[in-house]
Symmetry: C2
DNA sequence: TCTTGCTATGCAACGAGTTGCATAGCAAGC
DNA sequence: GCTTGCTATGCAACTCGTTGCATAGCAAGA
């Protein structure tokens, strides 16, 4: 019961909306992926274990014109496991900020190397600018009117993503200024 | 040459200042740990591999009154490996934000569960408030006067940490407001 | 004297995450 | 007709990170 965190993200996602492994993988590429990444291989593997443990059940759904799928729902034991986990302390996150390592590493390269890094930071910045635009777009689309608590909670998490991206863009400008002034 | 990222963080740290595995582990608890976490077991294991690959060399240092240590420095091949890596694109980070999962999970628990989560968020907030205070303190201590490029780069990374913590505290207030209003 | 804590190093087992590959049917465009 | 791409599922091998444990000397305080 240590790591086992993908399980919880899957339980939340399936409680919000039952679905197949494939559908889950797509959600992890979109909304859930903002705060928890996972590949389809990982999801199928964990889903199988969760099914064996009785936290989720699958329903076979025959589709015409495309392969059958197995739609998963959360069982009562699964739900109470999640509720229990919600009460547990938040574990300190494992930080892994590659760009920060590169920036400190810039002290040990030459002018050409620093110029290349500046280019990389600019590219990275453009990516995150586009990401912020997508978030803001999604916010307008999905949260124009708020109807229930689930939506309110999804919205506050999205606001976190937006705040993060804005902070990041400001900091990247600071980084670019610093690198250019060396 | 895929993940292999702890290696780079170690190279940067050893270029900034040679040191033993133990000293590195302490640095990863402090400054480097702000953007890259690693345990001493991991560090020793990787250091051994890096030594075998010729990226670092060790010098035995006998100390009186405490165990001998092996102080590591970066070799020329190690340095050029780092410089090469600096030019490579920044990989997209694997996000893993447990608190966000819990917040969305709060939709599926009762009032008591939500109250417990609020308590957890408050505790988490207090932790990060203390962390911000430490960062600001370290900034005053270490960057009152700036003498070289290395310091300038370390400072901009620290400013990133400070900006992150400020953003996080604001967002946690938003989260607490949202949870209390449910 | 005994215990706690710090420096200093490391092994072994396990669990989680990544990468590459494989299958299979159907739809859409060239 | 052929290729590309999407839905849908999964295995196998590997690497990375975590956890628990072990050793050993010295310092400081109860």
């Amino acid at each position: 019961m240590r790591g086992m965190a993908l399980e919880h993200a899957i339980l939340v996602s399936l409680l919000e909306q039952p679905g197949s492994g494939y559908e889950l993988a797509r959600r992890f590429e979109r909304s859930i992926g903002r705060f928890w990444t996972a590949t389809h291989q990982q999801i199928y593997r964990v889903l199988k274990r969760m099914e064996a443990d009785g936290w989720v059940t699958a329903e076979e759904i025959g589709q015409d014109g495309r392969p059958d799928k197995r739609s998963f729902s959360v069982t009562e034991p699964g739900r109470s496991l999640l509720v229990e986990w919600l009460r547990a302390p938040v574990q300190p996150e494992a930080v892994r900020h590659e760009l920060a390592v590169k920036i400190r590493g810039a002290a040990f390269t030459d002018a050409a190397g620093r110029a290349a890094l500046i280019g990389e930071v600019e590219r990275y910045r453009a990516e995150h600018e586009a990401l912020l635009a997508r978030y803001l777009n999604g916010e307008k689309r999905d949260f124009a009117e708020i109807n229930d608590d689930g939506q309110r909670l999804q919205h506050v998490v999205l606001r976190g993503g937006i705040a993060y991206e804005r902070m990041l863009l400001d900091w990247l400008d600071d980084v670019l200024g610093t690198l250019r002034a060396l």
